[in-house]
């Protein structure tokens, strides 16, 4: 697979190069077409026509990452321009429908809170080199980090873009030296481990954030994910998150809660990451009444709801609660951490860190279920909320049976007590990472950290901070279990089933009219009593036996 993907990229590269050469040899060159030819639809790329280890431009020592990028761009001439449009680079997303300015660059989550102002640390997961403050040049192509996604050696790593407080810098000491030439000559299409570097470790650790994205997916067995199964289909992330010009299908900021198009025309590639784009709109084989009924369910129920019966499976826990209120405790002036949760794969997880507070983990979790139309609304740094109306939703969503765009989706619910501006009723940017004493990670004074975090971006801060209970919602879509582990009917069609309390529908087996049931049962009971009474009276009064009645 690695060879194949490597050569695919090379093939693309060589194609461009040889095209150019051919044009140069056959002089006089034919006049260029007046208008560029309209694009045609090609089949998926196959074959391997180039080998990156043989590329001359990659036979040199590289001083740093940008030097490698320059070499990449010398063949992949348009990749830089393409890449700079995507969210891995911009960290910014404007929602078309709500107009909200989203993306890591702006949002606050209820894990490590804000990336803004802390890029020196957080932008380790920016697909670029050196973003540590507002001076980062987003127009310089050589700042793009090609290797973090395309390294197929597994040896590439990144460190924070700025030193941070001495108390934190120790985390990144003693790393093995990086051989950029070796990595550059062994590039290929992104593997699960590449995407997972950041996406499996979001929120500050393995599976902390999403719940359905953990390092267990690097080489998962079939039971954990039927598509990524290392001995089976072995899908990379991009098998579903289809990519065109370095833009990916499928994003939390742009969820298709209900795909009504299915597979599209025969052979057509639909650039969406929905289940339906491969499995179609009648995914269950119509060979039984029950399956026919299941195919009817897809109008109201996301595939994920039945086919991801639990998340945070595979031995890696996810964080379900985070309490910032306890952060900042020190021993002899030094921060510390405590282990205390042994997860399924045997690893011991931190339950307390001075820099972050207390954590609660969960594994094999049953999701929360709700109608979801795909539209999230975020509580941003500019949103004012009522502090009495806690918990405050960091992101909220709408959906109902009636809008026909919604389906019942599974969610991870994250509950965090996190710092807020109590005077203004807003979230805050806290200055967590920095070399200065104001940085919370080292200085341990939240008031000072917020003061600086807000001031750096000219934000109104009342000076009065506190902690509020917040909730965030994470749609669950990975860790698709094999079909034999999918939910059974009774998991929902029961009085205390998984969809207990979910509104807008009549669910047989769950829903009853108490009134009708009581009247019905009473009628049956009254009938039985009448029959019994009738029979008893007959027994004690009826001596003759001349009855000739009819049933």
């Amino acid at each position: 697979m690695r060879r194949l993907t490597t050569t695919l990229l090379l093939g693309l590269c060589l194609g461009l190069v040889s095209g150019g050469l051919a044009a140069a040899e056959h002089a006089p060159a034919p006049p260029p077409p007046a208008e560029p030819l309209p694009p045609q639809v090609s089949g998926p790329l196959t074959g391997g026509t180039a080998d990156h280890t043989k590329f001359e431009v990659l036979q040199q020592p590289f001083a740093d990452g940008p030097a490698v990028t320059e070499a990449c761009l010398s063949c992949h001439t348009e990749a830089g321009q393409h890449f700079m449009k995507n969210i891995h680079w911009t960290w910014e997303y404007v929602n078309r429908d709500t107009g909200q300015l989203l993306g890591k660059r702006h949002l606050i989550n209820n894990f490590c809170t804000n990336a803004r102002g802390n890029e020196g640390m957080c932008a380790q997961c920016h697909a670029g080199y050196g973003w540590k403050d507002e001076s980062f040049d987003f127009t310089d192509e050589t700042n793009i980090d090609c290797l973090v996604c395309h390294d197929n050696t597994g040896t590439y790593y990144k460190t924070p873009n700025s030193g941070g407080h001495p108390a934190c810098a120790v985390m990144f000491e003693d790393l093995p030296p990086l051989d950029l030439t070796y990595v550059a000559r062994n590039v290929g299409l992104p593997r699960r481990a590449n995407c997972g570097k950041c996406h499996f470790n979001g929120g500050g650790g393995d599976n902390v954030k999403h719940g359905d994205l953990s390092t267990a997916l690097i080489d998962p067995p079939r039971e954990l994910d039927v598509h990524m199964d290392k001995d089976g289909l072995n899908f990379a992330c991009t098998a579903c998150h289809l990519t065109k010009r370095h833009l990916w299908a499928g994003s939390r900021y742009d969820v298709i809660a209900k795909d009504t198009e299915g597979t599209g025309k025969p052979g057509e590639r639909r650039d969406v990451a929905t289940c339906e784009s491969c499995h179609g709109l009648s995914p269950h084989p119509v060979n039984s009444v029950a399956n026919f009924k299941l195919n009817d369910h897809i109008a109201s129920i996301a595939c994920q709801t039945c086919h991801i019966p639990e998340f945070a499976r595979g031995g890696v826990a996810t964080m379900v609660e985070w309490d910032w209120r306890t952060a900042g405790k020190t021993r002899d002036g030094e921060g510390y951490h405590e282990h205390g949760y042994i997860q399924g794969n045997g690893e011991d997880r931190y339950v307390y860190k001075s820099i972050k507070g207390n954590f609660t983990y969960g594994e094999d979790l049953v999701p929360e279920y709700a109608w979801f139309d795909g539209q999230m609304r975020y509580t941003t740094i500019h949103t004012r909320f009522d502090l009495d109306a806690q918990p405050i939703e960091i992101n909220s969503f709408t959906g109902s049976r009636h809008d026909l765009d919604s389906r019942i989706w599974p969610f991870k619910r994250m509950r965090t007590w996190m710092p807020v501006d109590e005077g203004n009723g807003t979230l805050v940017y806290a200055h967590l990472w920095g070399e200065d004493e104001a940085a919370y990670w080292g200085g341990y004074d939240m008031g000072v950290a917020i003061e600086k975090g807000m001031k750096d971006f000219g934000l109104d801060y009342s000076g009065d901070y506190g902690y509020a209970e917040t909730i965030s919602w994470w749609p669950i879509t990975h860790m698709v279990a094999p079909k034999e582990q999918a939910l059974a009917c009774r998991d929902c069609h029961a009085a205390d089933g998984r969809l207990d309390g979910l509104g807008d529908i009549y669910l047989p087996g769950r829903d009853h009219s108490r009134w009708l049931d009581n009247v019905g049962l009473l009628a049956v009971l009254a009938t039985l009593i009448t029959i019994l009474g009738h029979a008893l009276i007959r027994r004690f009064t009826n001596r003759g036996d001349s009855h000739d009645g009819h049933a």
Partner: protein, 217 residues
């Protein structure tokens, strides 16, 4: 007047009755399971059985309606007030005194007025309530996109369940009635063999013996 064994339930009618019984028991059992009253069957199995039993019963009913009208036997179910009161009085009073049942079965009128009325109500009220709502429920996938469809579905489910309770009450009384004679078997037998003791006028007896010898013994 002679009492003879006369064929009052033909082969199809018996098949209809017992087929209907089996299917209704199955529907009742699976249906109340789906409703959540018991958990003796896997939901998926219950849905499958319920659906197939419903289809089978609908087909049986189609044939029975055809049969009722082509054989003119629908007339047996015509309601009448004549004698109704006396039958009601018998079941609520006379039966305890050991009185004789007031109704005399005729081969051209096999049900007493109370039976005819009860069966007619079953056929034109309870059964349609349950099959119309049942079909609407089965075809939900066709109209689920309509406005208020989920509210309408709830009403459909209520009516369906209500009708099921009513049919259960009917079935209980129906079975109890079988015990009101000499023996349970005596009442069940005609629906098994087809023959029942019927009082015949000499003309009727002569007619049946001459023209319908298979109907009398």
């Amino acid at each position: 007047m002679a009492t003879r064994e006369v064929l009052i339930f033909g082969r199809f009618e018996r098949f209809w009755h017992w087929g209907q019984m089996v299917l209704i028991v199955l529907l009742m059992f699976t249906g109340f399971g789906l409703h959540g009253f018991h958990n003796l069957l896997d939901f998926r199995v219950a849905v499958t059985l319920h659906t197939f039993s419903a289809f089978a019963l609908l087909i049986l009913w189609l044939f029975s309606v055809f049969w009722l009208f082509t054989t003119e036997t629908w007339r047996h179910f015509l309601p009448t007030g004549r004698g109704l009161w006396r039958v009601l009085r018998f079941y609520s009073y006379g039966i305890f005194k050991g009185e004789r049942h007031p109704y005399r079965k005729a081969y051209w009128r096999k049900h007493n007025p109370l039976q005819a009325l009860a069966y007619l109500m079953l056929k034109i009220v309870l059964f349609p309530l349950i099959w119309i709502t049942g079909i609407a429920y089965l075809l939900y996938f066709l109209w689920r996109g309509f406005p208020f469809s989920s509210e309408i579905l709830e009403w459909i489910a209520l009516i369906h369940t209500g009708a099921a309770f009513a049919i259960l009450v009917f079935a209980l009384i129906h079975i109890y009635m079988l015990t009101t004679g000499h023996s349970f078997w005596e009442h069940v037998r005609p629906m098994v063999t087809g023959f029942d003791k019927v009082e015949l006028t000499p003309e009727e007896e002569a007619y049946l013996e001459k023209d319908q010898p298979a109907m009398i013994r």
